[in-house]
Symmetry: C2
Subunit: 191 residues, 2 copies
DNA sequence: TGGCCCATGTAATCTGTTACATGATTGT
DNA sequence: ACAATCATGTAACAGATTACATGGGCCA
């Protein structure tokens, strides 16, 4: 499922402009999907071409007219069709974890900073989800399910990082693979 | 960071053929990275061209020679460089969660089946991690860190799904948006 | 008047996925 | 005899990222 289906899903909840969709994705969908303008606008264009969405035009602030998209009856049908047949692929693509895997090859301070950064990312996503829950109190069951799962996962990740960071950093400092081959005998047992 | 860097990382741990790398990725890296042959082989080719890895050739079972790659000194330098500057991007791309978000538009049985499938995926990844831990007992601190984090996250996800699936399914059955527009007056307030 | 937010879109580029092609060895 | 596993690679395609282009309104 690509950005096109993502937009169709979002529009089935509530009409929006492309710009608004991006914001919504960042605020509420960020923990399981990302999409930039470069994929959102072409996706909306294609959806409109195939009649799955339509739009009202109004004079926007920029040089181009602003378009507020909404799903059509045909779009609803297509959406149900896609939902009924799509595979539930779930993949994580994390440079962060790859970096952690290679922690031995980095300076401990760098590792520490990376964890810090990740914790901040997680916390801002958690805040966004908290806000969404407050704003949109009785959302559909599916939306709440995903929101709760997101909060649980993010919370668990943050907690793990906070609890284990010291263990990791200590281990790295004890066995300094990362330091340039000048200072060798910290353990007193190098060649 | 792309498949190229991923391969460089994996080869810095231990030499391997392209085929073996894929297996390793599936078994131990699956919870945070995926790569198919179509990206692994070209990546290894490029790495070899730029001198970051080298390989021994032996007569393999297939029509082509088998190449076992290992990282070079220059490769180690390049790797450290990349590790020192890379951004810790972490992104989830989950059709599964998007489907759950749209649960109202599906039949409850379908939602149930999707959750089932996901739980099985998680469990097989957990098994792979458990096996890796048993096999490779005292791995570097970074590797253990990532392995433990993976187990924690996967375990949390599985538990959440098991605990909340009934609540979700019940909610869906109570308010059948998913059924064709025949039965309207369940809430008694349709147009 | 300088910068940020709103707002849409295109084009070049990068990367990954999928399908295809090839074929020996080992186990059932 | 058949299937699975081992094993490498290419080519076509799909999709996303990035940078660019445009410009009004609002706030300090």
């Amino acid at each position: 499922m690509d950005t096109e289906t993502l937009c169709l899903c979002a529009l089935s909840v509530e009409p929006a402009t492309g710009y608004e969709l991006k914001q919504r994705f960042e605020q509420v969908y960020a923990h399981f999907y990302v999409a930039g303008f470069g994929s959102i606008y072409p996706a909306l264009g294609k959806l409109a071409d195939s009649g799955l969405v339509e739009f009202d035009v109004s004079r926007g602030p920029g040089p181009r007219p602003r378009k507020r998209y909404r799903i059509t009856a045909e779009g609803e049908r297509a959406l149900r069709e896609r939902l009924a047949t799509a595979e539930p692929v779930h993949r994580v693509h994390s440079d962060f974890l790859l970096l952690m895997l290679m922690a031995e090859h980095m300076e401990p301070a760098r590792v520490d900073a990376l964890i810090d950064k990740r914790v901040h990312q997680i916390n801002s996503q958690l805040e966004a989800l908290e806000k969404a829950r407050a704003t949109d109190a009785d959302a559909p069951a599916g939306v709440e399910f995903v929101r709760d799962l997101g909060q649980t996962m993010l919370h668990t990740a943050a907690e793990f990082l906070q609890t284990h960071r010291n263990t990791l950093i200590s281990a790295l400092e004890a066995e300094p693979d990362h330091i340039d081959p000048r200072s060798e005998s910290i353990n007193g047992e190098s060649a």
